[in-house]
């Protein structure tokens, strides 16, 4: 058994390296159109966002729709560290992620007592408050936005994404992760079995916020400018669609959802209304006919992940 897992891990590693090498090679040889390069980095950002939201929504079963709020905190803090304090990129990214995690902890502490719809609305309200706070803070440019130099390269974005997925995956496979899954399956039963449900809900929420903040930091240091409007409810909704599409509770599903949705919206970027109408219809039809999402709670097997890596690369080149 150990041998099989080993082979699969090697396959995955080879797949990941291959994706990286192909893209890095084409960047090096300067044959990658800038639009494709932009989309690739966005895919990375959305993979981090979708997997981290899945940790909260899918694995722990706590319905949060304020993920853009954490992303905004990460983006702005990282931007402040880089622009105002001239800190190094890595420090900025970590600072953004930690700030988002702290915010996640503080907001999670009181709101995670709420259930279902109420939690959803509270997190939505939180996300909007964050946006309005940045909108009204002239220190970070207010509505007109905050200019940040572009320092994120494909190497940074790709390896940070891989690292995020590994950490979240290992968390899910750990004792803590199983505790989170038990909360999703039946909170009262989990409580009775001696699981500290509040602790694990907040843990998942904080970790989710941390990675949302990291994604925000990457976003801020790649897109030249960040504006409060970017982090509106619409962004949270986009991330939610990716998670739901891939399957609540499936990490590989989230990766798939993020890749598909980002590529589709990039392809439809000339017709933004159509993009949203199609997304909306897709979501409704999906909920009616396959409410579990494409993968449900299943994961791709690791060897398949390796193959999928190749597929991503070929569809992008």
């Amino acid at each position: 058994m150990g041998k099989r897992i080993n082979r699969q891990s090697v396959l995955t590693l080879v797949g990941v390296l291959l994706v990286y090498a192909i893209v890095q090679g084409s960047i090096f040889m300067d044959i990658l159109p800038p639009f494709v390069a932009l989309t690739l980095i966005q895919v990375c950002i959305f993979i981090i966002l979708a997997t981290s939201l899945n940790l909260i929504n899918g694995i722990t079963g706590q319905f949060s729709i304020g993920h853009a709020g954490f992303m905004a905190i990460g983006a702005y803090v990282a931007a402040i560290v880089v622009v105002k304090f001239h800190g190094p990129l890595l420090l900025a990214l970590i600072a953004g992620a930690v700030a988002a995690a702290v915010a996640g902890f503080l907001i999670g502490l009181p709101t995670l007592r709420l259930k279902g719809d109420y939690l959803a609305i509270a997190t939505l309200g939180f996300g909007e408050i964050v946006r309005i706070v940045f909108l009204n803070t002239s220190y970070v440019g207010g509505a007109s936005g905050f200019s940040v130099p572009k320092t994120i390269t494909w190497t940074w974005a790709f390896w940070l994404t891989v690292l995020s997925i590994i950490i979240i995956r290992n968390f899910i496979k750990s004792t803590h992760g199983r505790a989170c899954i038990s909360i999703r399956e039946n909170e009262i039963a989990a409580d009775v079995m001696g699981i500290n449900t509040t602790k694990y809900k907040i843990m998942a929420f904080t970790i989710g916020a941390f990675f949302a903040g990291l994604a925000g930091g990457i976003y801020a240091n790649y897109l030249y400018i960040i504006q409060p409007l970017t982090f509106s409810f619409l962004k949270s909704f986009d991330i939610l669609v990716m998670v739901v599409l891939g399957g609540l509770g499936s990490l590989t599903g989230s990766v798939l959802g993020a890749v598909v949705m980002t590529v589709v919206s990039a392809a439809l970027s000339g017709w933004p209304e159509w993009r949203l109408v199609i997304t909306a219809v897709l979501l409704i039809v999906m909920m009616i006919f396959r409410p579990k999402g494409l993968l449900g709670t299943k994961e791709f097997s690791l060897s398949f992940l390796g193959k999928k890596g190749d597929k991503n690369a070929s569809s992008k080149d």
Binding site: L114, E128, L276, T279, A280, I288
Partner: protein, 296 residues
Amino acid sequence: MGSVTEQVLQQIVNGLSLGSIYALVALGYTMVYGIIKLINFAHGDVMMVGAYAGWFATTTLHMSFIPALLIAMTVSAILGVLIERIAYKPLRNATRIASLITAIGVSFFLEYGGMLVVSPQMRTYPPVFPDTIFNVGGIIIKYGDIVMIVTSIVLMVLLHGIVKYTKIGKAMRAVSFDTEAALLMGINVNNTISATFAIGSALAAAAGVLMGVYFNTINPLMGIIPGLKAFVAAVLGGIGIIPGAMVGGFFLGLTESFVSGLGASTWRDAVAFLILILVLIVKPSGLFGKNIREKV
């Protein structure tokens, strides 16, 4: 001192006008939630469609205010029933999260589908009312303020009458109290739910027309923020409780106009959401709600 009192009274007038819109929209939220436990995210967008129907009636068909209002209400009522039948009914036994996601989907469909149909540009509402301004001791009351408050009060009284004294109202109360028992008693649950959507959507349309008339402009995304805030109002009053939605709406309207009056108008959305989070944390059942103990 006199000017402070004047300021306060002025903000009360503004707050009541704004609050009557929130209250009308909140009623729809609360009725739907009371009956099928669904946060109908698309409700604010039903309001937007109502506003466009009213705009079409007044500009293209040259109607006056009351017929335009009735047309808008009819259009939205039909739309509300269609949304319920197509999107929500298949999910009645699904998880709450699935219904919630569907509602968000419907909301985006109406917003961006609306953009495709009527174009994203703003439309100007024709001046339906005279520009008369009443100056009562320094407080400015617009003709629109009076129409808004009067219309919404009339509609609320009407709703109260329907829910309290008619057969369909009785059926609604029964279904919201216990759906299965109501079904066993021979109440047509499907029709009752559709009727709830129809009434709620009609009220939202009225709010949409009033908003268009009051603020002069409408656009396909106009429903998002008032929709969310009306939801805040519904939660504030205790979701599922009709008088709670009215009180919550007026409370939120007044709070917002006082925040604006203090010169912090850019913060007023944040204040509304802050109230929401505080209410949810301190008393999730709302001002008028009773605490229900969870049974295993």
